[in-house]
Symmetry: C2
Subunit: 144 residues, 2 copies
Amino acid sequence: MFDILHRVGVISGPSEVYSALTTVEGLAAWWTEETTVTDDGILQFRFAEGGFDMKVLDTRPNELVRWEVVDGPAEWIGTHVRFDLKQEDDFTIILFRHEGWAEQVEFMNHCSTKWATFLMSLKRLVETGKGEPAPDDVKVSNWH
Amino acid sequence: MFDILHRVGVISGPSEVYSALTTVEGLAAWWTEETTVTDDGILQFRFAEGGFDMKVLDTRPNELVRWEVVDGPAEWIGTHVRFDLKQEDDFTIILFRHEGWAEQVEFMNHCSTKWATFLMSLKRLVETGKGEPAPDDVKVSNWH
């Protein structure tokens, strides 16, 4: 199995970051404006190219958010997305993992770069009040 | 062994991207301004926090650049950095790999995010004429 890893530090307390990871309003302000939640708690993220459905596996306030991908591109289904939070200096550090890819396909390269730009969008949201969610996200290539 | 993967598309022909990966002037304009080359061809990249020495293992014009890390942080020594280039639509696609990490240490998370921002700097350099090399690189956390 293969994993995408990232580390971003947000100049803020942990509760602002945790809120951006656990509320529809927060998620819509840095990942994709088309974020909704179903009656049974599945998070649905939609983009021009498609989308992802996430089941929340675990949350610990100001420390951890863990999702399982239950629908989306074949390569994503069954993988896990994990955000571990901790405090260092004036920063809330996000240790990010998108883990359990079966193969190192080219789409994994793409998703790794996109996750970095979205995590920078999350940092910007919490630090300045304005992120860069889809459809106005940072474009990294012909795959957007 | 563990790898960092990225995929960035640059709106340009391949020769501009290849040049930015294989000349001191090009490398200094997107990665770090303190880029030099020794008499025996070792590329030396320096940052406020330290640096990396790279031996060029392989180059194929407009297609491939491959380096071995011969000096730098312990986690980097012996790892390989690889840029594969190909054309799609109006883009030169860079498939990036920093491969051969022994462990998924937190520093690997950091380097993955930093590589993404530096590859976006390379994209910006070729597309606009101005990258964001160190020391004025995009800061992602307390580790810079």
